[in-house]
Symmetry: C2
Subunit: 173 residues, 2 copies
């Protein structure tokens, strides 16, 4: 039960990049020790916009998914797999009702980004992260990387969508 | 009743940049004919991320609010009023449940950007748009500007938040 609860929390956490239940990952080397990303990629707040997402449930999060130039180019050209150097970021915030907007509208209809909760990254390097489908996963709370137990839940989930190179978020035009 | 319905629709439409009920606009020249923006500012899809928003109600929209470099700089420095040249864009999409994500999660919790609905802009030019608080307003459906009757609802709403230079969206860190 504890294990299930943890898993659901980790699903809710990933928001934009979106986790997945673990099934097939037989094409990847299950024996190798996964390498996680422990440094925040510089300049990510200036990256271009990919899409938005909202997760209900435990976290009730609002996500903005951004990509560096290599990721954006691949998205726009519809090229899969993503080339080495591509990085996708998911900036998560609390999904909060905007009282100041609602007061004006005269009804509860407006939701905005509240305080930031975490930032996640997928970093493509087909050699360095070969054991996890070529992607290095990252999750930062207040600038600090999540622990290994948490990080081990990323790849099994994403591995289920191998046909989209482990990336859930679709590009918003 | 028709008039009320139209107004509510126009409130719902503005999403991220967020409309306002008309009250005080006595500091602006009410007699001058407002000038609306009829050309889509080039390159807006590459602009930097300001924040996200969701409006329930008629449109059930998902918005990503982006800014050009002048707007982003002003936001980050907390400078008001926004300088001439600042442009803020609100890209609106349908707020849709993601069946493909929900199937994996085993419950309905994931919402993503659906088909695009409209794009709105606020363009700062204190001389050109003097009669509307220095901001030129724009709304495009499928690349075509909205009609004058619709556009006349923008300024009276935004004018109510003069202390934030008519801009509703706050910067998400």
């Amino acid at each position: 039960m504890r294990r299930i609860a943890f898993f659901l929390i980790s699903i809710a956490t990933v928001g934009g990049i979106v986790a997945f239940t673990a099934t097939a990952s037989r094409h990847f080397d299950q024996e190798a020790t996964p390498i996680f990303v422990t440094d925040i990629p510089p300049g990510y707040r200036d990256w271009k916009f990919i899409s938005v997402a909202h997760e209900e449930g435990n976290l009730n999060s609002f996500a903005s998914i951004l990509g560096n130039d290599i990721a954006i180019k691949a998205y726009r050209e519809g090229k899969l797999p993503f080339p080495d150097g591509a990085i996708i970021a998911a900036l998560h915030y609390r999904f909060v009702s905007s009282e100041e907007n609602n007061k004006v509208f005269g009804r509860s209809q407006s939701f905005v980004a509240g305080s930031p909760t975490n930032i996640q990254f997928m970093v493509k390097d087909s050699k360095k992260y070969a054991s996890t489908g070529g992607w290095g996963f990252a999750h930062f709370n207040d600038g600090k990387p999540a622990d290994e137990a948490f990080m081990k839940t990323c790849f099994p989930c994403h591995a289920a969508i191998k046909d989209r190179d482990l990336v859930f978020t679709r590009y918003a035009p």
